[in-house]
């Protein structure tokens, strides 16, 4: 079925993971640039969500877009997630390419039916005859005392339910490339951005939230992990903000002769299982770092991938996740549950000790 407003054959062939160049942006600005460049090329792309207009998105995902494209293409919605996410679905079915923002991943509870029973299932239920080329972007993550209902990651929940792709960039370069790929995809893509990697001035910053981003459009392929740091003694498989902490730990331990390989998953659906197996085949020791809840989620899945492939590959395995508790408010309590560099370091030392 061809769509009426956007035809796939009109999209340009974009470079895949080109040289980053020298120009630096924050992750937030990289997302804005990806959306802006796509909207300039394709009038069927539009943005919708709460406070995405003049406010620019609560976590700066859409800053500047309404000034450039106007309120017809950057729409502030009422607080009606079921209605506006569903509206995005219907618009996508009829050939538009909506980018819909769910303000916090934690809010999926009020609208999950549209997401997992409609957005994710329509393509399959229609035997491939109806496409839903939609991006659902959402802020996730804790570390700034926003409490149990505003600090969750939840990407494991979305990844668990069939029919939607799930991408989780950790840095500006991947954020722009994955956003472009997500908009370009004919499948529904859940794009989860950790607030702590956005480079926001009003949150404690980390250096890797600012990075080199090519000025032209490009793609980071959905479904491909990246070796963020090569190593030989232990594999850390991780994503999002935890990539940054893992790299910090790896740098520190290098001086002690412990060689840590860090795999940034970048996508959860599809999951780059080959990259996981390739790395663990080399090191034999696996630490999974995931800021989502520990049980019944991503970390178990990663370990299962290796175990199903060949359990003898694994000499040691450990996971560093948020335990099965609601995320506490008080700073010291919150940081006791988050996968901090200290916890990651302890896990790595633990698996290399034997």
């Amino acid at each position: 079925m061809t769509t009426t407003l956007h035809r796939k054959d009109q999209s340009l062939a974009l470079p895949i993971e080109p040289d980053p160049g020298k120009r630096k942006l924050s992750t937030a600005k990289a997302m804005q640039e990806a959306i802006s460049q796509r909207m300039a090329r394709d009038e069927s792309v539009f943005v919708m969500g709460e406070d995405v207009g003049p406010y620019g998105g609560i976590f700066s995902s859409t800053t500047g877009l309404i000034d450039r494209f106007g309120p017809e293409r950057v729409l502030d919605t009422p607080i009606s997630e079921t209605a506006f996410i569903g509206l995005g679905i219907g618009a996508a079915v009829e050939g538009m390419r909506p980018i819909v923002e769910l303000m916090f991943a934690d809010f999926f509870g009020v609208c999950m039916d549209q997401i997992y029973n409609h957005m994710a299932k329509i393509h399959y239920e229609s035997g491939g005859n109806v496409r839903v080329p939609m991006v659902l972007m959402m802020a996730a993550g804790g570390g700034y005392s926003d409490g149990a209902q505003h600090s969750q990651c939840l990407w494991g929940t979305f990844a668990h339910l069939p029919g939607m792709k799930v991408v989780v960039p950790s840095n500006p370069y991947d954020a722009k490339g994955l956003m472009t790929a997500a908009i370009d995809s004919d499948d529904p893509v859940v794009f989860v951005f950790h607030k702590g990697v956005m480079g926001l001035g009003w949150m404690s910053k980390n250096d890797r939230s600012i990075g080199a981003v090519p000025e032209a459009e490009y793609i980071v392929p959905i479904g491909k992990a990246r070796v963020a740091r090569e190593g030989t003694d232990v594999t850390i498989v991780t994503l999002s903000l935890s990539v940054h902490h893992s790299l910090d730990v790896a740098e520190k331990l290098a001086s002690e002769g412990i060689s840590v390989e860090v795999i940034d998953l970048r996508s959860l659906v599809p999951l780059d299982r080959e990259a996981i197996v390739r790395s663990v085949s080399k090191t034999g020791r696996l630490v999974v770092v995931d800021e989502d809840y520990q049980s019944f989620g991503l970390s178990g899945e990663v370990i299962a991938v290796v175990a199903e492939h060949d359990p003898s590959l694994l000499k040691r395995v450990s996971r560093v996740c948020v335990p099965d508790v609601p995320i506490p408010y008080a700073h010291a309590l919150e940081y006791a549950v988050l996968p901090t560099a200290a916890r990651i370091e302890a896990a790595v030392r633990n698996v290399v000790a034997t």
Partner: protein
């Protein structure tokens, strides 16, 4: 050589601001389309671009209080 100034953002002349983020380092080559900094006064953000091309030298650290209009970098 051109001075890069902290933008005037607040009607209150004595309101100070901060460099929130430097996107370049001293010694980097910049052009008028290079985003060099994000600054803020009273939680309102602004982006700073240089007026000329050249090599930039940063004069102020991130998060330090800066008066509006102060020289924050130079481009030669």
């Amino acid at each position: 050589m051109t001075d890069v100034l902290f933008p005037l953002m607040s009607g209150k002349a004595d309101a100070t601001g901060v460099i929130v983020t430097w996107f370049v380092e001293s010694g980097d080559q910049v052009t008028p389309s290079t985003l060099i900094a994000e600054v803020a006064v009273d939680k309102v953000d602004a982006e700073v671009y240089p007026e000329i091309s050249g090599v930039i030298t940063l004069l102020v650290e991130e998060s330090k209080e800066v008066p509006q209009g102060a020289v924050i970098a130079q481009v030669t």
